[in-house]
Symmetry: C2
Subunit: 214 residues, 2 copies
């Protein structure tokens, strides 16, 4: 067993520490954020920090790194008020990763990948056609995390699109049916398979399976 | 393709909406939070909202639901200032799920599962012995998310323990080697396998694999 105490973490090489600390909290989501500027230039960026915030009202959030460098996604959704969240699947993972390359702001990542821009229901931000689970969001609020100047962005779900075959009777979505990716750290991509769902836990009664993965 | 607009989401049955909205942001982490009360009673609770916040300083965060019902984990780490994060693996997933049952505050979830309490390096919160990647944390701050009265808790990493064989040369941790679980929604447990790591993305240069899963 390897042990790192706080002072040892502090003294690690920065890249090593970034890999280690980004990996150790567990698997993360993998989504592409789609935005468009006032000048009509699309932007697409991979995020592994999109999280559930609440279901009533339906809210999601993500962490944005400090605004000390150009952040096209942030500028765009602050201007327009809207962005899309497009779930990454195993067929598009390389193109999704490539959106993290630093292109000038007048270059759309759609033009540098095989990903296709798509507009649905007059929503004013571009979706990714090759992503089969996608969410149209409106910007709601942001919280400055004073400990490291990151921002927690809060957004409302305006539209949700997903394939019928993933949707169970009770609203639960079987993500492994559409090969949704989970990430490890900054650059690791993993493919999960469902083990099982477990019934609501009752004291002194071991949980039963609701259903199992195939 | 199934489509839900905002108003349709609002009008869904509450349990259906909770399943749907909790699932749609992608895979989530799966961790057990260990705490102990001033009276010496341990508490163990499953959380799927632990996220990376920053690596320098090393910080993690998680979302806590509104404090309108008893939250033993919260009371304990606010009193003591400390808690542990114990990654859930496939061997302990049923016991981990069972910690979500509502036991009285004077009952330790360790006593109701096969999970074993463990104290390491005089840290004042209990770890889970059967979890092989575990983190000792100190409470740092909390942010009230006014949109739904949830709290974002921020904590500093004081200790990190992990098996040597998961740790790559550059600090990246291969979570599938220790059967770390990813969650879908409120009650779905999935087992990921690494596809590949991809090299730092450069403009106009398609990403190469750093390494592949076995």
């Amino acid at each position: 067993m390897k042990h790192f105490a706080k002072l040892e973490l502090k003294n690690l090489d920065g890249r090593y520490r970034a890999n280690l600390i980004n990996s150790c909290t567990g698997y993360k989501s993998c989504n592409l954020l789609g935005t468009i500027s006032d000048e009509g230039i699309s932007n697409l960026a991979i995020f592994n920090s999109v999280v559930h915030i609440g279901s009533n009202p339906a809210l999601l959030g993500f962490i944005l790194r400090p605004l000390t460098v150009r952040r096209d996604s942030y500028s765009n959704f602050k201007e327009s008020g809207f962005f899309t969240v497009n779930q990454v699947n195993s067929a598009i993972v390389r193109d999704a990763h490539h959106t993290s390359a630093k292109y000038p702001e007048d270059i759309s990542e759609f033009s540098k990948t095989n990903l296709t821009e798509e507009f649905l229901h007059d929503f004013p931000a571009p979706y990714v056609k090759e992503s089969v689970l996608k969410i149209g969001c409106s910007y709601v609020n942001e919280y400055n995390i004073v400990e490291n100047d990151c921002l927690l962005i809060i957004a409302a779900i305006e539209h949700l699109y997903l394939p019928e075959e993933t949707l169970h009777m009770d609203g639960w979505v079987q993500l492994d049916k559409i090969d949704t990716i989970a990430t490890i750290g900054l650059d690791g991509y993993a493919l999960p398979k469902l083990l099982h769902r477990l019934a609501y836990a009752q004291p002194n009664d071991k949980s039963q399976k609701l259903e199992s993965g195939s």
